[in-house]
Symmetry: C2
Subunit: 246 residues, 2 copies
DNA sequence: CCAGCTTGTCTACTAATATAGACAAGTTGG
DNA sequence: CCAACTTGTCTATATTAGTAGACAAGCTGG
């Protein structure tokens, strides 16, 4: 009687729960490269057949792996192996698109919303008089369709009127700046902290509860050193590692 | 706050059952020598405290180890680490007491019962005329108080009248033979098989259900080569390894 | 002998694990 | 568009794991 290669049976009554056995097996297939980064895992019903267990049991195993940041489930599409964390250099020149492309992945920016606001803190950091109207822009940035960060930026409204249209079109802050006559810009200051993702961030960044976000507060300036952008970015810490060279 | 060294907590909700964690921990302490062979394990209630679980959970862990032949529980006394299997040479000269003492353990024989019987098969193997009355003697032999084997022996009643008294006194077949003028004797033939212990053997040999016994059928002869003893011994296979030198 | 230890067995109950099935809702490709 | 796939969520139920307590029965040392 030939062994059925499609079946990888589990040990029942061994004192190790089935969901743990399955999670360990899938994890080892990921770390050994049988399931490479960004590849799609077999569907839950397929894993159900392979391991000879109930779908709920497979789901619990996948939930454990998602909790560890090893896989990510997308409703309607399937489960995917997470990429290795992207090294994200922090220095005088910080460009999201360049950083993502340097890792061989495809950058994308999605505009969430635009508002005109008056806000004392960013105004002060932009070096503008109090109560100057600001453009506040909310974005989500991704690599190969995987969301990496969610950012809020403040610009002087008078100087960057219509910036959001260019952002909408290109998804890139650098290109939107270029369309407004800013050929180059530089990082003035960067403050880094971290905390658990809040529910809104879990949703936008497709994170399981309890995962951390890196909170990066930054000020960018034009060629003359005048502040033009105050930005607060929340990176999914499982997908991005900040690298500071001194 | 100092760590409580008396407590070795277990991982709850890890997907590994508590009885398995405890069994693995105790097993590793046995194999690393923290609990040497024949030493007494902490009592169940003590282990209950150390691991912070219910006594039933500890008992299940100990049952697993007993099932593997690593420990043995004795009602009213405690649980003990099993000795390494005793190498038991099978050749022309086979002596239980010598074999046990060679391993530095104390041999003992306990007489279970004596009967006068007529039995065709042992009579034939003793080379006696059919229907010759035989002495049938049942024994349990142990080392350091741990039962190793249960044996049934047949002798010619006429020649060995009163043998059982000597056996009772000395617990040794060799000495009983000596008292009957047999200074030396030799193994003529040995047949070896194995099977699971039956309930009576489980009881006499203090074996958990399902463990194997080695069944050794042997004929011993006097210095002139005449058969004097037909013996069927059941060794606890976890405690004795038969060694045949060729 | 007997108090105090040990293991063995039993019942009752709660929590964790696993199964079974149904249906909602998002995605994809023809 | 829509059929066929995917993941997400819900209810219900059976089995295993773990807790709690009581009591029987064997051993040991004073």
């Amino acid at each position: 009687m030939p062994i059925d290669l499609d079946r990888l049976p589990v040990d029942r009554g061994s004192g190790v729960s089935l969901w743990r056995q399955i999670a360990e097996r899938i994890e080892s297939e990921i770390t050994t490269g049988a399931f490479p980064p960004s590849s799609q895992l077999p569907s839950e019903s397929e894993l159900t057949e392979r391991f000879g267990v109930n779908r709920h049991t497979v789901r619990r195993a996948l939930a454990v792996l998602a909790e560890k940041g090893l896989v990510r489930a997308v409703k309607g599409r399937g489960s995917f192996v997470e990429e290795a964390p992207l090294p994200y250099p922090i220095g005088r020149r910080v460009r999201f698109s360049e950083n993502v492309m340097a890792a061989g992945r495809a950058p994308r920016g999605r505009l969430l919303g635009v508002a005109t606001v008056v806000d004392a803190e960013p105004t002060r950091r932009l070096g503008l008089p109090p109560r100057t109207p600001l453009l506040r822009i909310e974005m989500v940035s991704s690599a190969n369709g995987v969301p990496l960060s969610r950012s809020t930026s403040w610009f002087e409204k008078a100087r960057f009127e219509g910036l959001e249209a260019e952002l909408q079109r290109t998804g890139s802050v650098s290109r939107a700046f270029a369309a407004h006559g800013i050929a180059d810009y530089a990082r003035l200051e960067t403050a880094i902290s971290a905390r658990p993702a809040d529910p809104a961030e879990q949703d936008l960044l497709e994170l399981p509860p309890g995962r951390a976000v890196l909170v990066v507060d930054a000020v960018n300036a034009d060629a003359e050193g005048r502040p033009i952008q105050v930005q607060r970015t929340r990176f999914a810490a499982d997908r991005v590692h900040l690298v500071v060279k001194s």
